[in-house]
C-alpha cells in the first residue's frame, strides 16, 4: 500500500523540463512545455484550417470550420446576455484549450490540467475577466456598489465570493482531472490490458470534455451575472 502511494506521488510530481540559465536559473516545468506544444499544434491547425476562406462556394473544410465555430458561439452565447457576447472568443479559446488538455491523456501525455498551477491560472483569469466585465458595464462606482446588493448585510458574502468562485472553478477542474488520472493509474496497476482503454474513454474523453464545458459554462454564468 505504501508503494502504491509513493507511485502515485511520483506520477503526480510535475518534473522540471529544463532550466533557463538566467540569474539563479528559472526552472520551466513539464506542464508549461506541454502547453507550448499544444499552442504550436493549435496554431498550426488553425492556420491550416482557416487558410483561403471565401464568401462563395466554400470548401468542405471551410464549411466544417464555420460550423464548428458557430456551434461554439451558440453553445456559449445561448446562456449569455447580448452584452456579454464579446467575451465569447475568450471562453471559446479556453474551452478549446481545456478540451485538448483534458483529452491529451489518451496519447499518454500528462494533461496540463493535472497541474494545479494551470487550473489556478485559468480560474484567476476567469474571475479577473468577470470583474472586468462588471466594471465595463457598471463602471467602478456601480461595480463597487454591486457588492452591497441585494442588501448591505450581504457585502462580506459577496466579497468572499470573489475567492470562492474561482476556487470552486479551479478545484472542480483540477479535482476531476486529478481523480481521473489517479483512478486510471490505479486501474493500470491492477489490470494493465483492456480495461484501462475502456475506462479511459470515460475518464479522459467524456469527463475531460464535460469538465472543460462546465468550467467555461460557469465562467459565462458569472460574466452574465456581473453585467446584469
Amino acid at each position: 500500500m505504501n508503494s502504491l502511494a509513493e507511485e502515485l506521488q511520483k506520477e503526480l510530481e510535475i518534473p522540471t523540463a529544463f532550466t533557463i540559465p538566467v540569474g539563479g536559473g528559472i526552472a520551466v516545468n513539464q506542464t508549461v512545455v506541454i502547453t507550448w506544444g499544444i499552442i504550436a499544434f493549435l496554431f498550426a491547425l488553425i492556420l491550416i484550417l482557416t487558410r483561403g476562406f471565401v464568401t462563395q462556394n466554400p470548401t468542405k473544410r471551410q464549411v466544417a470550420v464555420e460550423a464548428f465555430v458557430t456551434w461554439i458561439e451558440n453553445l456559449l452565447g445561448g446562456n449569455m446576455d447580448e452584452k456579454s457576447h464579446r467575451y465569447i472568443p475568450y471562453l471559446g479559446s479556453v474551452l478549446i484549450f481545456l478540451a485538448i488538455s483534458n483529452i491529451i491523456g489518451i496519447f499518454d501525455i500528462a494533461p496540463p490540467t493535472k497541474d494545479l498551477r494551470t487550473t489556478v491560472a485559468l480560474a484567476l483569469m476567469s474571475i479577473v475577466l468577470v470583474q472586468i466585465a462588471g466594471i465595463r458595464e457598471h463602471h467602478v462606482g456601480g461595480w463597487l456598489k454591486g457588492f452591497a446588493k441585494p442588501i448591505a448585510v450581504m457585502t462580506p458574502m459577496n466579497i468572499l465570493e470573489l475567492i470562492i468562485k474561482p476556487l470552486s472553478l479551479c478545484m472542480r477542474l483540477f479535482g476531476n482531472v486529478f481523480a481521473a488520472f489517479v483512478i486510471m493509474e490505479l486501474v493500470k496497476m491492477v489490470i494493465p490490458v483492456g480495461i484501462p482503454a475502456a475506462l479511459s474513454l470515460y475518464f479522459d474523453l467524456f469527463d475531460g470534455l464535460l469538465q472543460a464545458y462546465v468550467f467555461v459554462f460557469l465562467t459565462s454564468l458569472y460574466i452574465n451575472e456581473a453585467v446584469e
Partner: protein, 162 residues
C-alpha cells in the same frame, strides 16, 4: 504536487493568453469576418435583385403606355381614313351624278334638235303643199265659194299630210 512556484504560474497565464490571441485572431476573427462579409454580399445581391425588378416593372409600364398610345393612334388613323374615304366616295358619287345629269341634258338637247329638225322638215312639207295648192289654184278664179272650197281642200290635204 501542490507546491506553488510563481514562475511557472506566470508562464501558464501567458500561455493561455497566447492561445486566446491565436484563437481570437485566426479562428474566431477569420470565421466571423467571412460570415459577416457573406451576409453583406447576400444583402447586396438582394438589393441588386430588387433594383432590377423595379427597373423591369418600370420599363414594362412604359411599354404598356406606349402600346396604349399606339392603339389610340391606330384608332385615330383608321377613323381619319374612314372619314376621308367617305368624303372621297361622296365626292366621286356627286361627280358621277353631275356627269349623268350632263349626259341626260345633252341627250335631251339632241332629242330637241332632232325634233326641231323634224319640225323644219314638216314645215318644208307644208310649204311644198301650199305651193302645190297655190299652183293648182293659179289656174282658177278666186270666188268666195271657190275660196272656201280651196281652203277646205287645203285643210284636208294638210290633215292628210300630217
Amino acid at each position: 504536487m501542490l507546491s506553488f512556484d510563481p514562475v511557472n504560474f506566470i508562464f501558464m497565464i501567458i500561455n493561455v493568453l497566447i492561445i486566446f490571441f491565436i484563437a481570437k485572431k485566426f479562428l474566431f476573427g477569420r470565421v466571423d469576418d467571412i460570415i459577416k462579409k457573406r451576409e453583406e454580399e447576400i444583402a447586396d445581391s438582394y438589393k441588386a435583385a430588387d433594383k432590377v425588378t423595379e427597373e423591369a416593372l418600370t420599363s414594362r409600364k412604359e411599354y404598356e403606355d406606349k402600346l396604349q398610345s399606339v392603339e389610340k393612334e391606330k384608332a385615330e388613323i383608321i377613323s381619319d381614313a374612314a372619314k376621308k374615304a367617305d368624303a372621297e366616295s361622296s365626292r366621286i358619287i356627286g361627280r358621277a351624278n353631275e356627269e349623268a345629269d350632263k349626259i341626260i341634258k345633252a341627250a335631251n338637247d339632241d332629242a330637241d334638235n332632232i325634233r326641231k329638225a323634224a319640225e323644219i322638215v314638216h314645215d318644208k312639207e307644208v310649204e311644198r303643199v301650199v305651193f302645190d295648192v297655190a299652183a293648182h289654184l293659179a289656174g282658177t278664179t278666186m270666188t268666195e265659194e271657190a275660196n272656201s272650197e280651196l281652203y277646205d281642200k287645203f285643210l284636208k290635204q294638210a290633215s292628210h299630210n300630217e
